[in-house]
Symmetry: C2
Amino acid sequence: MTALEDFNITKAEQSKLNEISLENIPFGKYFTDHMLEADYENGEWKTPRILPYQPLQLDPSLAALHYGQAIFEGIKAYKDAAGNPQIFRPYDNFRRFNISAERMQMPTVPEEIFMDGLRLLIDMERNWIPAHENHSLYIRPFMFSTDEAIGVRPSHKYKFLIILSPTGPYYATPMRIYVEEKYTRAVEGGYGFAKAAGNYGGSLLASAEANKKGYDQVLWMDAFEHKYVQECGTMNVFFIIGKTAITPGLESGTILDGVTRDSTIVLLKEMGYQVEERDLSIDEIMNAYKAGSLNEIFGTGTAATISLIKELKYKDYVMKFDVQKWNIAPEVKRRMDAIKYGLEQDTYGWLYKI
Amino acid sequence: MTALEDFNITKAEQSKLNEISLENIPFGKYFTDHMLEADYENGEWKTPRILPYQPLQLDPSLAALHYGQAIFEGIKAYKDAAGNPQIFRPYDNFRRFNISAERMQMPTVPEEIFMDGLRLLIDMERNWIPAHENHSLYIRPFMFSTDEAIGVRPSHKYKFLIILSPTGPYYATPMRIYVEEKYTRAVEGGYGFAKAAGNYGGSLLASAEANKKGYDQVLWMDAFEHKYVQECGTMNVFFIIGKTAITPGLESGTILDGVTRDSTIVLLKEMGYQVEERDLSIDEIMNAYKAGSLNEIFGTGTAATISLIKELKYKDYVMKFDVQKWNIAPEVKRRMDAIKYGLEQDTYGWLYKI
């Protein structure tokens, strides 16, 4: 474990915390007093710094702005029943961050910087963690290339940061989802599994067109036939058919290996449901709906948590649900929240306590 | 046409031009004294500024660094025989820039900012245009999202810039190319046609693996079967089979609609070659090679110009060429250069004179 003296710490002169209310705060708009910053140069990571949240001086030729070597993670910290900070499964995000880094030809970030830095930073900013239901402190680790030269090649220099944003609920109400047939998010051999900036920028047009049709998000389909389910907006997706929960598998490398997805699988199994990670076609979904066996659909994600899907539209066919009658997804959410907020025992070792 | 007074101009106190030699200068490393900057906010473009090249103050939550709304163009300016600046087909890049913008859910940039700004900037920086063979002033217009908040949605604010970099040759020698079967650059329904940052960051791993095998770049293949040619590294690609030039078509939206590609098609036709824009399989290429009718392979791009390909490897099969015997690609390059440097008449209206 890294000692405090391995970090260069500069404290903010005064906190901004008294300027805002932490209740019902919008997602990603406010940031805490401090941030973590570490630079990679000449093949090694320099001493990380914790310093007051502040603008960065970046050259217009900054490699990341031209060639998109930019990755991130999303993690959440909560207050337990006694008011102490705990972070949900940060090691899983740490591992995934470095998988993204390797796909984008970026250096991996050492545990001593990512995890110990996160621990120090959350400790310093513990008063920023909201104590309200469905609220949390959203943690955004990210890294981008910083070479000050243009030319398509991996950058020599990188910057890793962690910023923190207190947040309320992300998707507040059950969602209406449009099955996307025109646009594609990812394909085998691409980088759909990586939490890389380019996967998000490329997705916005499809979302915008779905919004115009009155839908909240798209359900991405496979690149080849637009027939098999992939993921939903910025969430993984689960379909409960009969007593079985089905979610797309990770083999093709086209969807995100979600931490909330994995936690959901664990909880569903514990609740007695069979979980299948496999290809799921829109035809199978429609047939189940027609047969009355499509019971629930929901998305999972760190920002979104568990989000119920009350409507799914494929071509001219609309599937509607009365989410008030559901009990599986709400129970998954209840259990996961109970663990996150320290109300039920964490039997899985998911919590990283500060 | 925009008047000078529509731009807010601040001149550099002194030029950096006397600090460097413009001969054999590396690509994208040095930038001129001034840059153009324009901000988009509240649904409109603010007054563009021309100001000394300088770092930008950007918030760590800058949307572009997280969600990849970032596009660019590459254009070149040359000196004509009399020493006056001329820009090669900038309107085509301007149009393509706005096509990229629409795909990435970004605002389009008006001609009054992009083209008139470019004209003013090149006029101010005319002494930075190298006069040597294969040298030019590389023009990099780019735009990125600048919302200071995290959350996957189109940004409300954007920044458009033009920076300039004097440059020597990009790929100096004939290239060895590896036919890529594992990684994918783009797929139908994605944004492969857009000059967006994410297309480049995602390509670096394949290039790195090809480099390790001793190859300069990859030849990207289609996403479905890895059987049909797409583009080559950062270039479009042409195959001369018999007396016919074949280059992949643009219909699938998976390759860049290259300005140098289009110029090459025009020149090849004028030189009496038949040009086919169509699907071209690796089998057809190998069969032509075996039959002795695969005469030349070359890449085209603004940075790369016309780059000869002396070796192509597919699985264990290696196709080698004696580029010294070629005359088609070298003649295309000679003619295009003669027009760019004002040595032969521009009968196509390709040059935009300052």
